[in-house]
């Protein structure tokens, strides 16, 4: 029998010391911002009933960790933070005055391909603004996402923005079956120009098909709008573009024009999202560090028709980026060594020191020479020896480490 008692499961890892400090810092930076804008924290369980996620097609069962409770009911480790909040809204919070602003800091669990460099345990922090479908709320959320990205990366980020309505207007104008529509959507998402062209051949030169062929290329700056209007503006497409444009204009007024990319081909999770969709990128990272959008139908899946919008940061990725952030010294400032008779006194002394903002370790060795050796190894520069009186010993810079 082989014991797996010395390794962590695939796609997970232990975080040590500085990694924890950095993660907390990034999380704190973001959550403080969320709180200052009126968002309140919720914590939902890490295990949920399978049905919470299984009723929708957004979470394929093969990508969820499953377990069983004592009654044989199927449970999952949550693969997403929004659905549990949706469940919460449809039940305990259904009578809360709207709109509601919530934030969370949670691990999510997703079974991904082995050995492809992906984590299966992802630490996320994000917000949901529930009960409003106004332009105000869309702008608030996108701006909040941009502020978060900028807070962590300085200016080295981009945020891409789409309105799924444009794609939906196009695809609904095609007279074809759902499988073909889904295939078209996949090829738009993957910007697979070649396959998309072949697939759309059958629709001759219908305006919607022509626009769909061009859709994966509709990304960039402001110029995208003109091209998109020109390609297709019936069947509600113009409304979606108008709306997206007004958000873009507001973001420009906020000085974010350089940071924002319009990509009308951002059509992943087209069923989940109903309005604007956005993702955030840091330069040097190969995958989005933030993703979000409007999901007006999700809560009604749980029986309550309430509009909502939100986003989630992948904190682990964001942390990777801020690895350069200055860290406070990892070693404590002082080691307090005490003779046995004076232990209570030493504890009180340590408390006094820490109240002044110092980091102080209590020495648990009973031999002074060992204490010095330990302090040197640990990089502590001062030992306070507690006896008849307190003696302060400087170990000097650079010793030990």
């Amino acid at each position: 029998m082989k014991y797996y008692d010395k390794i962590t499961p695939d796609g997970t890892k232990d975080l040590l010391f500085d990694e924890c400090v950095l993660r907390s810092k990034v999380t704190q930076t973001l959550t403080e911002m969320f709180r200052s804008r009126g968002y309140r924290q919720v914590i939902t369980p890490v295990i949920e009933f399978y049905d919470v996620f299984g009723k929708s097609a957004y979470f394929p069962p093969e990508n969820m960790y499953k377990l069983m409770d004592n009654s044989g009911r199927l449970m999952v480790l949550r693969p997403d933070c929004t659905i549990p909040i949706v469940r919460l809204m449809a039940t305990r919070l259904k009578n809360i005055p709207m709109p509601v602003r919530l934030y969370y800091c949670h691990n999510v669990y997703r079974v991904s391909h082995d050995m492809r460099g992906k984590s299966n345990e992802i630490y996320q922090t994000g917000v949901e603004l529930i009960g409003s479908s106004s332009l105000h709320s869309d702008l608030e959320i996108v701006e909040l996402a941009a502020s978060g990205l900028s807070e962590i990366s300085g200016d080295k980020y981009r945020i891409e923005l789409c309105h799924i309505g444009y794609f939906k207007s196009l695809i609904d104008s095609l007279d074809t079956d759902d499988d073909t529509k889904e295939e078209i959507r996949c090829n738009v998402e993957q910007k697979n120009y070649a396959a998309l062209n072949d697939l759309l051949e059958q629709f001759n030169e219908s305006p919607a098909a022509t626009a769909l062929k061009y859709l994966p290329r509709l990304f960039g700056g402001e110029e995208v709008f003109a091209k998109a209007y020109e390609l297709f503006s019936s069947n509600g497409a113009a409304d979606s573009l108008d709306y997206l444009r007004s958000i873009y204009e507001s973001l420009r007024e906020l000085g974010l024009a350089d940071r924002v990319i319009i990509d009308l081909g951002l059509v992943n999770q087209a069923e989940y999202y109903t309005g604007i969709i956005f993702r955030g990128y840091f330069s040097g990272l190969g995958e989005p560090v933030l993703s979000g959008g409007r999901y007006d139908n999700l809560i009604s899946d749980f029986g309550l028709p309430i509009p909502a919008i939100g986003f989630a940061f992948n904190v682990d990725l964001a942390t990777e980026k801020s690895r350069g952030m200055a860290l406070e010294g990892q070693a404590p400032d002082i080691l307090v060594f005490s003779v046995e008779e004076r232990l209570p006194e030493a504890i009180n002394y340590i408390k006094t020191l820490t109240q002044n903002g110092l980091t102080v370790e209590n020495c648990v060795l009973d031999d002074y020479d060992q204490a010095v050796a330990y302090a040197k190894k640990r990089g502590i520069s001062q030992i306070h020896v507690m006896d008849e009186e307190i003696e302060i010993i400087q170990l000097g810079e650079g010793q030990g480490r």
Partner: protein, 212 residues
């Protein structure tokens, strides 16, 4: 600015890609005198080329350590993954085929077929679509050997001319799909370095005659 990094699949696709790049005006002389180097600068552009095995090209591009990759559709179909597949480069053409021993009726009888292939995911999804339960055995090379030795009823493999199959007493039962070299791009790279990558893609599309 960091150079745009392109991963090429070693071997035939590499030669065809380099030839295409040269014709587009990119100076690839560094690739001719390889030595022990692994990264090769493009002489007259802010780009560099790395050589890798097909599957690694996908992994590098997906993780964003390479911005662009040239890799066969066979590898993409087998591995899946998240990236943009922006162009069919037209070279490295071949097909996926289901091949069976000559004179055998593959679909006759009720027993569960055993399929040997290097491409287990491609095989699995092909038979899933046919609503057939099959047993798939992974074979790393010379898959034709498996039915000869009696390990499997058929094979799924890439076929160019079919000569190797014929020489080993196998015939093509049916084709699963067309394969050729594809240009893939990391999703973040395309957004963050749009100008440079767009220029590169347009040149290729112009060369292939597929511009929109």
């Amino acid at each position: 600015m960091k150079p745009i990094r392109i991963a090429l699949t070693k071997g035939r696709l590499e030669q065809d890609s380099v030839q295409m790049f040269q014709q587009l005006g990119y100076d690839c002389t560094a690739l001719r005198e390889k030595g022990r180097k692994l990264i090769f600068p493009v002489g007259n552009a802010n780009m560099e080329i790395v050589l890798a095995k097909a599957a690694d090209v996908v992994t590098y591009v997906e993780n964003g350590v390479c911005d662009i990759g040239v890799v066969g559709k066979d590898t993409i179909m087998e591995m899946g993954g998240t990236f943009y597949e922006v162009a069919d480069l037209g070279f490295g053409k071949c097909r996926f085929a289901l091949a069976v021993p000559m004179g055998v009726d593959f679909y006759k009888g009720y027993h569960t077929r055993r399929i040997a292939s290097k491409y287990v995911n491609v095989s699995r999804s092909f038979f899933e679509k046919k609503e057939m339960d099959v047993e798939i055995v992974k074979i790393e090379g010379s898959v034709e050997l498996a039915p000869i030795l009696g390990l499997s009823d058929a094979i799924v493999d890439i076929v160019e001319t079919g000569t190797t199959l014929k020489e080993n007493g196998l015939i093509i039962q049916e084709f699963l799909g067309e394969i050729s070299a594809r240009l893939i791009v990391n999703i973040a790279s395309l957004k963050l370095r749009k100008e440079e990558i767009d220029t590169f893609i347009s040149k290729i599309e112009h060369y292939l005659g597929t511009e929109v």
